[in-house]
Symmetry: C2
């Protein structure tokens, strides 16, 4: 084959690595408006709930067992579990746990799940070093800013070629957050970003396996280790992110530097973060939302003759399973998702168990759901028509599903989601306390408690 030199060779990229390092170190604490700070607290609380919610899952059990072979020092807590491990492996495990149910936050512009790689390392480090909740939230906002801006620069090409963008940008966000928490100098932070740049994590091929949630965890760990090495003088290329053979040009054909540099420190990507109300693929959400609204009309399930959906083509492409048999298959069935939305009024992890998927009442309603593609309907919309056996007809159009940027979860809804996840693991009382502490974590002076 012909030998080409490199994919791209753009030599005049701005000094992105340096610009980000100066931003990470220099931006003032709480240097954004209150709504951004509030969104960061919501992001943090949602992440904690997801991590506790999956803490006893076999995915997390397997990862913890592997880590225990290293006899790690008990430096930091595993959310929802009793063990403590070293900070690097706490970042790994909490990152895995938080993404296990695919229920964490989403930066819709890039499909990055930004909290996992950043919060996992930041919390481990903050706990171990006795840092304040304020510095934790600062680090979270700044780390998310770095990974999401890098994501904006390379999305969609980078994602389309097969990278799981959460892990392949997340190590930079983690390095940023940890550099900030460790109070590294600008030079050291630049090196930390460079060390992290050599460790992109994650292939989309892993979707459906435990290695998918491994990606944010491994990214968190890689970024933390990068910051620890840089703290002790370890060096990397000062242009590791932007050089012709640096990260972005190596793994994406699209490299829009402006997405990284424009209004840096003035606009905030965490403000664009969203939280899934339902524990399944986001394409199902408008249809579930509509079914919950039907339920709220007071219609009884046994009165339903049919529920007809008009949806975007992706819904049936990704979630078209007519007769799911397992909980996992239920997540890929818009029919099951609609049925549980109507019967339970929610579609959390508990509505995607094998038992619920096989429940005769659920199966009966599921079989009444029909879906057709309508090319006039956008991805985040759906039209639903319900007919009763008595001849009534109800029609709902969802333009933006609950949980979207246009219809964000309220704090009360976020709280209910949190308790729905964490309650079965640590009990409702501790779950309520953990949510309240997470939502006000920046008020804690040190030795953060959840």
């Amino acid at each position: 084959m012909a030998r080409n030199t490199i994919v791209k060779a753009e030599h005049n990229a701005p000094p992105i690595t340096r610009i980000l390092a100066e931003f990470i170190v220099g931006h003032p604490t709480n240097g954004w408006n209150p709504s951004v700070d509030q969104e960061a607290h919501r992001t943090f609380a949602n992440w904690v709930g997801c991590a506790i919610g999956a803490a006893q899952h076999e995915t997390v059990d397997a990862a913890v067992a592997g880590v225990m072979e290293l006899s790690p020092a008990p430096q930091a807590s595993l959310l929802g579990r009793g063990e403590k491990v070293d900070i690097a492996n706490a970042a790994l495990i909490n990152g895995i746990s938080s993404h296990t149910f695919d229920f964490d936050d989403t930066h819709l512009k890039t499909i990055i799940h930004p909290a996992g790689p950043v919060a996992s390392s930041a919390l481990a480090l903050a706990e171990h070093q006795g840092l304040s909740g304020r510095s934790l939230i600062d680090a979270l906002i700044i780390g998310i800013e770095v990974s999401c801006r890098v994501g904006n620069a390379i999305y969609p090409d980078h994602y389309d070629r097969g990278w799981h963008i959460t892990g392949s940008t997340g190590m930079l966000g983690s390095a940023a957050a940890c550099s900030r928490l460790l109070a590294l100098s600008v030079d050291q932070t630049q090196m930390a970003l460079g060390i992290a740049a050599s460790q992109p994590i994650g292939l989309r091929e892993q979707f459906g396996t435990m290695t998918k949630p491994f990606h944010p965890g491994a990214a968190a760990k890689a970024g933390l280790m990068a910051a620890l090495l840089a703290r002790h003088g370890f060096t990397s290329s000062p242009r590791a992110i932007e050089a012709p053979r640096g990260l972005l040009q190596v793994f994406s054909d699209k490299t829009d530097w402006n997405e990284i540099t424009k209004n840096l420190g003035e606009t905030w990507e965490v403000g664009l973060n969203t939280y899934k109300p339902f524990a399944c693929g986001i394409v199902n959400h408008p249809s579930i939302d509509g079914c919950i609204q039907f339920r709220n009309l007071g219609i009884a399930a046994e009165k339903i003759k049919s529920i007809s959906l008009k949806v975007h083509s992706l819904v049936l492409e990704l979630c078209g399973k007519k007769s799911p048999k397992t909980g996992l298959e239920g997540k890929f069935s818009v029919y099951h998702s609609c049925a549980v939305g109507f019967i339970y009024g929610e579609a959390g992890e508990h509505q995607y168990t094998d038992a619920v998927v096989q429940d005769p009442q659920v199966v009966q309603l599921r079989d009444c759901v029909q879906a057709a593609v309508d090319h006039s309907i956008p991805e985040d919309a759906a039209e639903l028509t319900l007919q009763t056996i008595d001849g009534e007809t109800h029609h709902i159009r969802i333009d933006h599903a609950i949980g979207s940027l246009e219809r964000p979860l309220s704090n009360a809804e976020l709280r209910a989601k949190f308790i729905g996840q964490a309650g079965p693991v640590i009990g409702d009382k501790l779950a309520q306390q953990a949510f309240d502490r997470a939502m006000t974590v920046s008020e804690q002076q040190g030795n953060i408690a959840l």
Copy 2:
């Protein structure tokens, strides 16, 4: 920009991940001819010498200091140092150390330095588990086979696009070696390869910084962790290496599956491994070789009027520094390299110190060296003409430099290289003992000592 789906989408690739897992688990111990086994011992010994040689370097100091922040359990030794750390971080540090002086082994077909990622994790694991030297060498051969065959499948496209192929294939070799040492099942080994596949390490942009040697170390650690997780039931895609969104199609346009599957278990890549005799870029080696041969003619340095080189264009492109000031710059100067070759009869790490680069005698001879590109001369050749102030002319043509496949280092030369590196760190006596033990490591029954 137009949204394409993925770079390639070859759906009919052979089941590479499974094929490799079956090979890793099933190939019999010492199942190759004695020359292959001998080459593996030479590879191991050379790697040990390199790791001890750089053990006190500031690169390794910085990495150890970073790792010590985790308070690691003392599970495995750091070569040439007193500390013990957990096996994952021992793999990291020994891998960094072994590549710090760029003096380790080279698989010339791919420019992979295969020992670093594989030996670093295998030795840590073998030490901690009290395994035999035989199983260590088996794992080394099999791990190198995996990473080099994967390298053959994607080289040169993958390297040309900017990946440091040692780290970006090495995590698979490490996972293979560790899966073998842990006696994982075929299914578990397939999962370990899959987990490792999500963690390719290394950008060529890092060359010249500490993050270059970080790559083999991080690859060793990633592969070891992948095997530990798989041992406890962690899952990954069973087609993580070959699927359309698997590793090879995501990060290379060239994916020649045949390079992985053909004659697997019958031919051995470790048999193609080479060892640098000189501590600088391989393009300088033919010229240094020629200058040592001039020295061996008994010519005195002060009698030299000129040494004229005819070389491949890469020599001046990569190593054309006329007036280096530091030891590191000296490595990128064919002029300095020739001068020390003549004066010292060697070009080890000690000939690339600031002091030697600035030594007036070296500078004087360096200034007598001239180099010109000759397009008829291949990469591994050089023509040298020496003229004395008395009017004598000597001419040498080097077709293959010492250390190449055609003129491999003898065991005695390998021993001299080892002691030249390890002696200053642990003393000549222990260095000699370590070399002898490394060269016969497969005879050790357990609790491997070097």
